[in-house]
Symmetry: C2
Subunit: 253 residues, 2 copies
DNA sequence: TTTGCGCTTTCCGTTACGTCAACTCCTACG
DNA sequence: CGTAGGAGTTGACGTAACGGAAAGCGCAAA
């Protein structure tokens, strides 16, 4: 029982060109070649092709697949190494995406060349931003908590999500308005905003004074948060942090 | 003031070969070419090169960079589109890494061909696995909570992290031992294990009965958790879920 | 004069094939 | 028996962004 190259192509889903390529690089030579030069494959070749396609789908290079198949290298070892490469590359793209995101924000800041404190309206502010917020190293450390947030988030609709994002943005804009007219962070109106913020956080976590201050500092230190605040208005992250610290001192300790 | 190709290479950090390439594809022609064929660059070219390198670092293709620079296309628009591509590719790699991870687990299950319930010892069980636990879509939804876990995680050393992973694994192995000898999930010894698990979770979150059951179900439904449990012993995820449900009924409601 | 540096052009190699182009072989049809 | 068509073949070029090697030219010091 032998099959032609077109048969194999149909059965496996790859093109005949690909099979010829695999022959050319020595990855999958046909069982035998007819007098007219036609390639013929048998079951052994089909099995080998199956292995090849499996590893190919996992993203391994053809060279590496050949090594594993021919030199009897440990497949698990190869996959593990490959897995590591995938993670590295994923993290690289993750970082890159955040850098791009930040660059976009900076370009937009440049564009409107006013030197007074400027408050950006939230129309398109979070487009292409929401998915780039997190770092991959830390997100692997607390699966349980992450699971919980995932489970909670899964109960939300897209509209819910969008609405909450708008709420957050609106809160940031109100703070920016206070800051623009130099209202001190201890002003009751500002503290009322912080209180709303605190209540929002309490939906899934109740920080004490130190923790709440730490969270405020995060808004300044963390590139992603800072970028979000800076897009609303320059210096807003620090203003928010100071307001939160004042709140923590007055109401949480 | 003009500079030779080597001057520009030194100043910019790229190779002269690269500059020649950029000339060849029309991305950065030199200001003028001397009688001996030598390329000479002036300040305008340096500025253009600066732009090119900026966008190149962000991962844009040379073609696209040329389009932006020559046709005055909107840089922000180009970056936004690029950003989207980056996220898509990142997610693809993320998914791929998880698939590879699962495949490794399955290959290892195949390798030891015993048909009785087998408990895998945790020596190398989590190598190359810990960074592939999470899905990117959901992780973008709850920045605050994620921030908190990040802040907590950042206070941990690598040893802390490893120790906690070992603890988790040890807990899973103990559950597997109960399961292997068919101890019912309502057995006090099993429930004691679940209680330890519950206490661990309470370090950052206090689930009620329904939430705790839901978490148990997650261990079964979620590919990543399930894979981790299945690597210890087949069916362990379900056993754990049932034990948690029993615990929730008995102690949390 | 020779050596050597700096520069040039040209070409091959990298991945995993897609896409022609030109050619051969075999079968069916008129 | 000629020919159209289908299935197969090899060969070559293209992809992105250069790296590296080979071979040659102009100029200056030793």
């Amino acid at each position: 029982m032998a099959w032609s190259i077109a048969d194999v192509a149909r059965m496996s889903g790859v093109t005949s060109r690909t099979l010829r390529h695999y022959d050319e690089i020595g990855l999958l030579p046909p069982a035998w070649i007819g007098g007219n030069g036609h390639r013929h494959y048998e079951e052994a070749e089909l099995l080998r092709l199956q292995q090849i396609l499996l590893m190919r789908e996992l993203g391994l290079g053809l060279r590496e697949i050949g090594d594993v198949l021919d030199n009897q290298l440990d497949q698990v070892e190869a996959l593990r190494a490959h897995h590591q490469r995938l993670l590295t590359e994923r993290d690289r793209l993750d970082t890159l995406a955040r850098t791009v995101s930040r660059t976009i924000a900076e370009l937009q800041k440049e564009q409107d060349g006013s030197d007074m404190t400027k408050i950006n309206r939230p129309e398109k502010l979070f487009e292409g931003f929401d998915a780039s917020r997190h770092e991959s190293k830390a997100r692997d450390k607390w699966p349980q908590e992450w699971e919980q947030s995932k489970r909670y988030a899964d109960t939300l609709t897209a509209e819910d999500h969008e609405r909450m994002q708008r709420e957050t943005t609106a809160q940031m804009v109100r703070m920016a308005e206070f800051m623009a007219v130099d209202i001190p962070v201890t002003d009751p109106a500002v503290q009322a905003e912080v209180d709303a913020h605190y209540q929002g956080i309490c939906r899934f976590w109740t920080p004490n004074a130190a923790a709440f201050k730490g969270l405020g500092q995060t808004y300044v230190d963390d590139q992603q948060w800072r970028s979000a605040y800076d897009r609303i208005a320059e210096g807003l992250a620090e203003y928010q942090r100071d307001a939160m610290a004042a709140y923590a001192d007055a109401r949480l300790s």
